[in-house]
């Protein structure tokens, strides 16, 4: 049963979902690059999910006779090292495919953690104001006053390596951005008629915050999230490169680059080029996607990202 006043609860969102989707697609095709970004990210996601099925070899299978093989060289069992082999004779392509898994998982999981904390904190700060607002915003100030990578280094050295520690630290590194934006939007929505209407209908405070306000502030957050996934993937790679990411047995793009340095003087370029290109294209795709989302949703957001 819908109450008559429910019509008021719907914020002035644009009607015609299909029209919106068509517009999104048109903006995307016009801009050209977002199409490539989506295709590339789709392929990376496939690699992350089906990596073990696609990979020609076991990622940790060493082969000391066939180490530092150049790309296209013959591998064991009649296979081919399409992208060469590393200093321990492990297949670079296989490790690259497995690395996609870590980068995407950590990127998306960290954003979910940071986004959730930030959204809840921002909603509470914006809706209640007063000391709640002060505490949340000052905590954010303190965190931003600390170069993030240093904070991550300090915590990861103590916590030890592991995917979930990484997700937690990188996620906590992102919450402030979300909290600030959500707070500002909540502040302005709090006084709007449709929120007043929900209050007048006797909706509970949690219901007003999460059912009435939240759905109306989500759109700009997708833009932030897209840029954030990009920067989290960069941070993950940097931390893995420093030896602070996941355990050494798990191949990641960052740790592959760290290992590539040992044989660089022997001109083993393929060990350094491919993982780096993988990181760059993934990050670039998320950045392009973010740009496109921003232009599509609201060009005025430019100032805030």
């Amino acid at each position: 049963m819908s109450r008559p006043a429910d019509a008021l609860l719907v914020a002035p969102r644009e009607s015609g979902f299909r029209r919106e989707v068509r517009r999104a697609a048109r903006v995307m095709v016009d801009a050209r690059w977002p199409v490539f970004a989506v295709i590339f990210l789709g392929l990376t996601a496939l690699a992350a999910v089906f990596g073990p099925l696609l990979a020609p070899f076991d990622p940790n299978r060493q082969n000391l006779v066939l180490r530092l093989a150049e790309p296209m060289a013959a591998g064991p069992d009649g296979g081919v090292f399409w992208l060469g082999s590393d200093a321990l004779g492990r297949d670079v392509l296989t490790r690259l495919l497995y690395g996609a898994r870590i980068s995407l998982t950590v990127g998306i999981a960290a954003i979910s953690v940071g986004g959730t904390i930030g959204i809840v904190a921002g909603l509470l700060a914006g809706y209640f104001g007063g000391w709640v607002d002060d505490v949340v915003m000052r905590l954010g100030d303190i965190q931003l006053a600390f170069p993030f990578i240093l904070l991550a280094i300090m915590f990861l050295v103590v916590l030890g390596s592991g995917v979930w520690n990484l997700v937690l630290v990188l996620g906590i590194g992102q919450w402030v951005t979300y909290a600030r934006i959500v707070r500002a939007d909540t502040l302005s929505l709090r006084e709007k008629e449709f929120v007043e209407a929900a209050r007048a209908l006797g909706d509970s405070t949690p219901s007003i915050i999460f059912r009435t306000i939240l759905p109306n502030i989500l759109a700009p957050l997708t833009v932030i999230a897209s840029f954030n996934v990009a920067s989290v993937i960069l941070s993950e790679a940097a931390l893995s490169f420093l030896g602070l990411g996941v355990p050494p047995s798990v191949p990641t793009w960052g740790s592959m680059l760290a290992e590539s340095r040992d044989t660089l003087v022997a001109n083993t370029w393929w060990l350094a080029v491919f993982p780096g290109v993988a990181i760059m294209l993934t990050v670039l795709s998320f950045n392009i996607l973010g740009d496109w989302l921003r232009d599509f949703l609201d060009p005025r957001l430019r100032e805030r990202t």
Partner: protein
Amino acid sequence: MGAYVLRRLTQSIIVVIGVTLVSFLALQIGGDPTYLFVSERASLEEIEAARRALGFDRPLHVQYLSFVGDLVRGDFGQSLSYRQPAMAIVLEALPATIELTLFSMLMALSLAIPLGVLAAINRGTSWDGSVTTFAMLGQSIPNFWLGIMMILVFGLYLRWFPISGHVPFLTPLLAGDVAGAFGNLPRTLYHLVLPGLAVGTYSLARNTRLVRSSLLEVLEEDYVRTARSKGLPEKRVLFHHALRNAWLPVVTVIGLEFGFLLGGVVVVETVFSYPGIGRLLFAAINQRDIPLVQAGVVLLAGIFIVLNLVVDLLYVRLDPRMRLAGGRG
């Protein structure tokens, strides 16, 4: 303006307290921190002795207060791997890191402003397209990978630049050897080119975009139209009216930029075997030398906070609106 300065100072003090709390809690988060300081083969008695010696048997608030006390005196304890005071080791590596950070920053800003202007005044042309494409790429390349690629191409293949090492400039300068310092300077800069580019490219890309969008916005303002309709030459409109206001947002982020740069420096130093705090931290991380990691992180964070404060106070002087309004909210 006085009120703003006061408020900004109070804020910095709160942040400093926050930083000390965070660095203190970082140690406690994994459980009993004693285990971070003893070897894995230590006997129970040894662990107990270490716990008492390090003071981890005291109540938390007492530990925190003595941690802050030590911090004020710059005492982070002995480095576990060097057997020397951790702070002394970090301070020794500091000048090299400052040189790299400043070099990257100057390079990033001195290129970002002309590139951003070039793109903005040629909006929609191929100039604009190339600059924005470059900026997009620059923001997506991991700095340490860029470093590795430059080592491969400019170091090992073309042999244009050294791929590792550092020639000190600040250290002799601080020791009073001015002639020696400036004698070193050309070689100092020569060694800074590759690591500096690796660290600074991200900032360069970000600031180029910022200058471009901020100038585009200013060019739409009424006072620019007024200046044009007065018949002023376009050059004068651009440099005298538009740019002055367009670069304010850039100044705002300079402080934060140091944070990004410091983060990049930590990783890139390792790539180039550059003897700064970053490489020191990398070694300390791998040897789990906790006092050294803490000393390095807290020192860099402290520098970052002070720089941010200075930049914010400078901003008040730069923007006359803020001098009148008594600071930004």
